[in-house]
């Protein structure tokens, strides 16, 4: 198990290295950093000086090493647009995105799995057909439309929930949390539904089809023939056997929830990393984009790693295979 984890860890670092190199290329060669920072009236001599100070004269390998070394210390340079260290910007914006993504994933999993189990077991009931019909809407409507519709219904018409922002936040050390205030929690509801709805329907449909598959297997028939209760069959045996693909997809979806919170954050003016990224794109703020690229890949790599380890927990066969393979 340990060897399995270590091997996966090494693979993860290789991926990160490649992404960091891409980020470096983006930083160094998409536009000239000096042009981005210097104003119209900066003299040529000053430009030369900046070029030197930024270390752009050094051999390329030295530049790469420096970039990697800095990235390892979370130093991504200074944002052209905000004139602030990028890492500081991300630290400020990160918690908002992470909290939103957490709430959205929780919503997607907590509603999606039971819905999938229900529609899988009672595949012919009217409720199942109703849920499936509705879930089709969830899959096919674009996020921004759902967001706008929710704002229209619950903020504009009913005045129940705020339409933008995070509400009040409380500082826990460096972390600004909205989980601890009533207005923070209220502000979280609409964005997390908007962000999680697609994932919810995806998980529900996945669990449903996996349930249908597993319920047809011999061991479920044998479990019936042994006289086990329907509850034991459905939850102890069937649901557990559906979990491998569900964990994979859910894990990767959590990654994309965080990475693609951009749209939801824009609709709700949520002060997170996604909004920061959009601003960076609009102002060609390369350091921010490079940092965001690295951060998002780090997130995906980490989630993939966790998913792999979770597999081994759920399925003893993978545990055995992994151990014998290393």
């Amino acid at each position: 198990m340990l060897a399995f984890s270590i091997r996966r860890m090494i693979e993860a670092w290789v991926v990160m290295l490649i992404v960091a190199l891409l980020a470096f290329v983006l930083f160094r060669y998409v536009g000239n950093p000096v042009d981005q920072m210097a104003g119209q009236y900066t003299s040529l001599a000053d430009r030369e000086l900046m070029h030197k100070q930024l270390g752009l004269d050094d051999p390329i390998l030295v530049q790469i090493a420096r970039f990697l070394w800095n990235a390892l210390h979370l130093d991504f340079g200074i944002s052209y647009h905000f004139r602030e260290p990028v890492s500081q910007l991300l630290m400020k914006r990160g918690p908002a995105t992470l909290e939103l993504s957490f709430a959205a994933s929780l919503f997607a999993i907590a509603v999606g799995i039971p819905l999938g189990v229900f529609t899988g077991i009672y595949k012919d009931s009217l409720w199942s057909k109703f849920f499936l019909g509705v879930s089709l809407i969830g899959v096919s409507l674009p996020t921004f439309l759902i967001g706008v519709l929710l704002i229209f219904a619950f903020s504009v018409e009913l005045h129940w929930l705020p339409s933008y922002g995070r509400g009040d936040t409380v500082a826990l050390g460096l972390w600004q949390t909205g989980f601890l205030t009533a207005s923070g929690l209220r502000a979280l509801i609409l964005p997390s539904i908007t962000l999680g709805l697609f994932q919810l329907t995806l998980i529900a449909r996945l669990v449903r089809s996996e349930m249908l598959e597993v319920l047809r297997t011999d061991f479920i028939r044998f479990a019936r023939a042994r006289g086990l209760s329907e509850r034991a069959i459905n939850f102890n045996h069937a649901l557990k056997n559906t979990l491998i693909p569900v964990i994979t997809i859910t894990g990767l979806q959590i990654g994309s929830i965080i990475a693609f919170a951009v749209i939801t954050e824009t609709v709700f003016q949520w002060p997170g990393m996604g909004l920061l990224f959009i601003t960076a794109v609009q102002s060609a703020d390369i350091p921010v984009m490079a940092a965001y690229l690295i951060l998002v890949s780090l997130m995906f790599v980490t989630i993939n790693f966790i998913v792999d380890v979770l597999y081994a927990f759920v399925d003893p066969r993978i545990r055995l295979h992994a151990m014998s393979a290393t």
Binding site: D218, F222, A225, R226, G227, L228, S229, V314, R317
Partner: protein, 329 residues
């Protein structure tokens, strides 16, 4: 061989009829079959694939799933009707009164639950046992079915067992709550030939100890000859011949059974060509009007094309053939 006294039979099936609903209309998969199994008796059910053997087993404990359903028939266990039981009552009966063993031990066990978990949940579903008592009982069961070092092996997952060992676990699971009848649906088909005899012997010995009856579904006449007390031969959803195993093997009356017996290879006998039954069993969608076997039968008469023969008693058995009713060509 003495036949067990059939009154009251442990299992009594009358006019069991199973239908498959398809878009093109209903198909009769099992057509009014009747048989009984005495206490402690082993009834073999043989027939080709698609003859309705497995469906018969599944119909008895109501494990048929749509579009397959039982449309007619009385099933009694120890004199009490068990068809039409509520879902809950049927669940309590499965495993407790009637155990079932399926063909493929590789897929019969939940791959993600340990042997201990599966045995203990089965035991506790039927018997008032504490978890530790159930565990002790589970270890005892594994020892009985011949799993070496059951104290350690019980916490293993199914993938750690070979096919034969898994089938032993399956037998332990089926016997856990001491059912009175075991329906064994091709219990050895998926196993190595060398292991088959062991598994059959084991099943037979354990059921004999407990006084349990076995309904042994197979297409292996060798297994039937060695194991069963009586045998029912199925063809296209009907029983064509039923009787004590010695009688069926030595003097089969139905031309189909005769063909089956001629097709068994044996080492000792003179090595002539095995007889074979030409043609194939008719599809359920195209059952002939008369006797379903008539198109392949060497002794078919005009009568056979238009009318279906019913089971006619003969010695200690019965066969469904007009030849037995004294009809002549």
């Amino acid at each position: 061989m003495l036949q067990a006294v059939p009154a009251p039979p442990l299992l009594d099936v009358k006019d069991l009829t199973v239908q498959i609903d398809t878009r093109r209309g209903p198909l009769l998969a099992i057509d009014h079959i009747s048989f009984h199994i005495a206490r402690g008796e082993i009834l073999g059910i043989v027939g080709e694939s698609g003859a309705g053997k497995s469906l018969t087993g599944a119909a008895i404990i109501n494990l048929l799933t749509p579009p397959i359903r039982r449309i007619q028939g009385e099933i009694s266990l120890q004199g009490a009707r068990i068809d039409g039981l509520s879902i809950q009552a049927m669940r309590e009966l499965r495993g407790k009164k009637i155990g079932m063993i399926f063909q493929d031990p590789l897929t019969s066990l939940d791959p993600l639950a340990t042997i201990a978990q599966q045995l203990i949940e089965t035991l506790r579903a039927h018997l008032p046992l504490s978890p530790s008592a159930a565990r002790a009982r589970a270890i005892g069961l594994l020892r009985e079915v011949g799993i070496p070092a059951p104290e350690q092996r019980i916490d293993a997952y199914p993938h750690a067992f070979s096919g034969g060992m898994r089938q032993r676990v399956v037998i332990a699971l089926a016997l856990a709550a001491e059912p009175e009848l075991i329906i064994a649906d091709e219990p050895t088909t998926a196993l190595d030939v060398s292991v088959q005899a062991q598994i059959i012997e084991l099943l037979k010995a354990l059921c004999a100890q407990r006084g349990a009856s076995i309904m042994l579904i197979t297409h292996d006449m060798g297994v039937i000859a060695e194991t069963a007390d009586r045998v029912a031969v199925m063809y296209a959803g009907r029983i064509v011949e039923i009787g004590p195993v010695a009688q069926i093997i030595q003097s089969p009356r139905h031309p189909y059974t005769q063909g089956l017996m001629g097709a068994i290879p044996s080492l000792g006998a003179d090595r002539t060509r095995l007889t074979q039954i030409s043609g194939a069993m008719p599809r359920l969608t195209a059952l002939p009007e008369g006797c379903a076997f008539a198109p392949r039968c060497t002794k078919a008469m005009a009568l056979c094309q238009t009318q279906r023969p019913s089971l006619t008693p003969h010695e200690q058995g019965a066969a469904a053939c007009f030849l037995l009713e004294g009809a002549t060509v």
